[in-house]
Symmetry: D2
Subunit: 309 residues, 4 copies
């Protein structure tokens, strides 16, 4: 076994392999049933919506440390181009964008990670190819994501603006945040776990924002699996705690979530405005829309998640 | 006056310039009040959701006729890259995407069109620049779009699979479709007008899909303005009827909607599955989520619109 | 053996595997010795130069049939941006380009083709990876290309403006063109074989330009190997004759040149102006500069080849 | 007048406006006559060639400080794709590149800079547009660059490995370097001025490499104009000295060269290997090939300059 025993045991324990059939490419998104969606819909009581996305801009969170994963480049291919020849008449402006699918607020698709030669549900890692990208578990397979969202503000629960660098979020932290929020997690919910790490980003320190980072501990995976949540999103770069708690397994949470559980992860989500509102009205549940862009073969996708309360 | 008299009179009549103040960059999106959002929320009764987006793929609807506006290019910058050096351990796949903001299912932002030197609300067309794109009315200003959506299936109402090429959709057609749907349009609603034109696209004939095309007639603009809809989306390439009804004004509906009314337009929306479901249960209203990606300075944005019934 | 016997026998016969050592990544570029370069230099007698490149433009030769290989997209990231804030003072314009390395006039690098699991010199095909591209035989390894060039105008030799579609250029054609040119091919020379196929391109018919196409016959490979030329370039899309002479081996010349001989190929070269000049003065030899761009890991590179007579 | 008097007087003095006619878009490239080319050809005596280009790589010199000007991104769109379906048979690898035209070793085209509303030869700055780029003086107009090159190693002449940050190279420095090189500058030559600044780049310190930087002083412009050189290239980021000697004129040398003289500039040229060789054999003149890529409308172009001695 390539990894320490604890990892493989935990992987087996939380595995959803085969749970939704041998051909399933959706993983825990299967938990978003019409009922789960309606549970989310019922949370929309005031009609106020919050965007949870960082702007797509060349000054985004990427630092260049990940080869070729760039911040968005937006350029104009036409600026008030006179469509009829006459600048007084019909003029059009048009643009293109070049970006990493994971450069800002995004979903990690299930094909983003692999180990021991496999991605989720036992599909060979070789199903990810240069020409077509992820031929299995491509992000386009996830058509819609509409369910109940719950904000677990771990930072606020611990009474800090920002969790310490490298702070591992454990089950007790999630329980405490849920208790504070007065919510009970149900199957198909999507959890938004707030660390406060974006304080670094907004201060202009992208390196500090990146790592070391507070994030989910591998010990939280079993908890998430037992709750049968549909997905988890955080307001940091690495999603999970960095550096890893056991140097022998880098990014264990990525592997357990994406490969074993088949659970998508949200990263770089902007949770501050929502958190402020939840603190104000004491309501930490909402209707969450976070459908990815249908990038065929994508291992991830930018997303503008919207919480409606 | 650069255009025929009828155009300038109509432009004056439907104009929303100054309606939401001299600095407004949202236009009719202002009509999506919390009440409008809740009206949409109340339409979500079964929890079934439909994605209204075409896949983002290099084989998309663009034909190359619009210089530099390309179909999406998706390439891998990493394929199962061994993060720890050992292919048995943590491996990651990552990708980038290069695309026109309007290459597939998208929103036209308010800065997409101009005439007589201005975009919406009297902002100079020169506010669109190469470096920063649309410095006024950039698509990122539209944070969230959550409201009631109504499907007006004009093709089905006329008893055809696909409207004739160059068929202009007039107010009577919209009234008939609304009557058939048993809905009454209210302020802040978003209308999805179905032409059936995508039959060409799915048959592999992108040129026929592009034009000539059935679409909104300039005569429908007053109707839309009176109803105070928040936006309109169609299942074709040109949005409005092509060729234009009056050769002296190319794309008049684009100009009236974007520049004078400040109303965003949706193009290339995939409405077939939704239309089939509406025909089955007779329900043509739903909760619509169609928040754009926050492309700073964008004149448009790809979107994965989701209808929840 | 995966291919017919004739192919494997020919491959063995023309192979340069190991000829320049087990670590060689340059192949026949090794034949461009200082002496070969000086032979080219001596051909520059009048100081007149000719560019052999097609323009890099969105309206280039690519038709979209090769997934994701696009014509160049050139967009401005700045237009007269006031560097000091004042438009009267220092203003700068800047741009980016997105292109397939093989979208227009280019070199095929040695890593562009493989068969039976290997590229040139026995390097495993797996040395081409997503992150770093061609880790062996990347185009950047070819620092400079300065040698004698010879124009073999096969079309003119046969007295036609353009060779018939699917016409296979055989050794006799090359001998006849060389005789007409009054040149004798020497080791390290680069041959420019003209088919006249670009007549289609300049007529706006990119599909006809692409294929079927006149080009090198597999039977010319032995001839080229015996002459020990450094490289060969043509004025067509497919380089070799299309369709292949033996349907059992598609692109045999690509495989024999790139994989077995380790010989780079030039495609889409613009030879008309040069050919006209050579016909005028009867001089078909010249100093040729055709150094690729140092794209690290590139399987090819755009090039602006220059012939100086 | 927008700039200080000294600038406008110098601009008038060195101006080549109208010198080659009102429609000229080549500027000092006109000085590369066949005779100038042959003077360069005669310098090629040993047949040894040197590439003067930095590798095109995502780890290039760009630091992200210039919005949207990125280091090259090279990604594979195909890796050993079985062209016949069988991986044992014909397989092809293909790639694309996304880059700033000025991200690494490049030429500044004449449309790169403007002031007082004009680029070179009095063409309005408005001739640079979003759709087509530089419609006047686009880099594609410069078909070929083949002439004599002279290395002026200012750093070595001053007995240092690297000139001090912000050291302004004045005429006396150029005279001293030419005297040391034993060369006399003639019309149509291209000068390669070495500062040694790339020591920072190769040490991995891109910020220090960028600025402050030693470079040409505005006082060198008159000298260059009198010598009637065709172009000048340097081994630094900013080309000219940074910060500017007179804060009232940022990048004066760029303006005087590009706008008034119509003289292209080379930046990020790799001169170390060449300099070492010149120091060894005492020969500082050579045949220089530095033809740009024909990017239609380009304000610049990547280039792989080659010096042949």
């Amino acid at each position: 076994m390539s990894f320490p025993k604890w990892f493989h045991e935990l992987a087996r324990e939380v595995s959803n392999k085969g749970r939704w059939g041998p051909d399933d490419e959706l993983g825990t998104m299967n938990l978003i049933t019409p009922e789960a969606t309606l549970r989310g819909v019922r949370c929309a009581k005031t009609g106020r919506s919050f965007s949870l996305a960082l702007p797509l801009h060349h000054d985004g969170p990427q630092t260049g440390r990940i080869p070729n994963r760039i911040n968005p480049i937006h350029t104009m291919i036409g600026i008030n181009t006179p469509f009829m020849g006459d600048p007084e008449k019909t003029c059009l402006s048009d643009d293109i964008i070049v970006m990493g699918t994971q450069s800002a607020t995004h979903w990690d698709g299930l094909a983003h990670a692999s180990y021991a030669g496999h991605i989720y549900n036992g599909f060979p890692a070789t199903t990810v190819v240069a020409e077509a990208g992820a031929t299995r578990c491509g992000i386009e397979k996830v058509k819609t994501i509409v369910t109940r969202g719950l904000l677990l503000d771990v930072a606020a629960t611990k009474g800090v603006r920002r969790l310490d660098a490298a702070y591992p979020i454990v089950p007790e932290d999630l329980d405490a945040a849920a208790a504070r929020a007065g919510v009970s997690v149900e199957p198909g919910d999507i959890l938004l776990v707030r660390t406060g790490q974006q304080e670094h980003l907004f201060a202009g320190d992208r390196d500090a924002y990146r790592l070391p980072a507070p994030g989910l501990s591998y010990s939280s995976v079993r908890w998430l699996r037992e709750k049968d949540v549909a997905a988890v999103a955080t307001d940091n770069f690495t999603f999970e705690v960095w550096p890893a708690e056991d140097a022998a397994v880098v990014l264990p949470v990525h592997l357990l979530h994406l490969v074993d559980m088949g659970m998508m992860q949200g990263q770089h989500w902007f949770l501050d405005d929502l958190a402020e509102d939840c603190a104000r009205d004491g309501v930490y549940e909402f209707l969450l829309h976070a459908s990815p862009e249908p990038i065929v073969g994508g291992t991830g996708s930018p997303v503008n998640p919207v919480a409606t309360k």
